[in-house]
């Protein structure tokens, strides 16, 4: 049997997504948060690839490429922000950044 049930691929991406979400919600270190975000992004990219490979399409890879670009840009900006934050607050605790509240 040379076929994989599509559910298995999607389930994997769902699991990775959920793990990434846990990371985002739990960690206070902003670098970890950013990494968890990357996990989530990656999981969604995986879902695209899985879905596209069901039909043998190339569009899934195009979408993945887009996500990749997005992730790269996001990481660049995010890390720049982290550096700036560390300069200002001398910490990478995300809870410190809670001044913008109603």
């Amino acid at each position: 049997m040379s076929s994989i049930p599509i559910e298995h691929g999607l389930v994997l991406s769902a699991i990775l997504f959920a793990i990434g979400l846990i990371g985002v919600l739990t960690r206070r270190n902003i670098v970890f948060v950013l990494m968890s975000l990357e996990i989530m992004l990656n999981a969604s990219g995986l879902a695209f690839i899985v879905a596209a490979s069901r039909w043998g399409h190339a569009e899934g890879q195009v979408m993945f490429l887009m996500i990749l670009t997005l992730a790269a840009a996001e990481v660049a900006v995010g890390l720049g922000l982290i550096i700036q934050m560390f300069r200002q607050f001398k910490t990478i605790d995300i809870n410190v950044l809670s001044e913008m509240k109603g």
Binding site: L21, L25, L34, S36, A52, L65, A71, G80, F86, I92
Partner: protein, 161 residues
């Protein structure tokens, strides 16, 4: 090949869990690289070699190195582990885990009745490129502008006063 998929999947899940549980940030980063490489393997198995290569080069190579640079710049390492440990209380895991569990359950229930199989078929660089520079050329251009904007923003933000 199919066995490879399941092995890579298990590796990816374990490595990812390890990422979020780690207190040592450099270790976490290494687990992350492992996870990404595992996913690259999965891509390959699913017939997306171009994506697999990019995953390895851009994600595992470039982005993770970027993280590493930042960690080095901020001089995070062993001495922040204690701080990290004190932030990670067991109670803090409960809420997110329950929420994510529900989300996962929902996603699984949505996928439950998909009864279709993937027969992996190689979709090479050529097809992808034909699409990229055909119908999606505008998206590519926009993506390049996004990257440019990201570059400028990152430079601007990280610039010392």
């Amino acid at each position: 090949m199919i066995v490879l998929f399941y092995i890579a999947a298990v590796v990816a899940v374990i490595a990812t869990i390890a990422v979020i549980l780690q207190t040592n940030i450099v270790h976490a980063l290494l687990y992350m690289v492992v996870s990404l490489l595992a996913i690259a393997v999965i891509f390959y198995v699913l017939g997306a070699p171009f994506a697999a290569v990019l995953e390895a080069i851009v994600y595992a190579g470039a982005i993770m190195v970027l993280f590493l640079f930042v960690i080095m710049m901020l001089n995070l390492g062993q001495h922040t582990r204690n701080e990290e440990k004190s932030w990670l209380t067991p109670r803090g895991w409960i809420g997110p885990s329950i929420l994510s569990g529900i989300l996962l359950a929902q996603l699984l229930s949505v996928m439950a009745d998909l009864d279709q199989d993937i027969i992996p078929k190689q979709v090479g660089v050529m097809e992808v490129s034909a699409l990229l520079f055909g119908p999606y050329v505008l998206a590519v251009e926009l993506a390049s502008i996004l990257l440019l904007a990201g570059l400028v923003a990152a430079y601007h933000l990280a610039k010392p006063k």
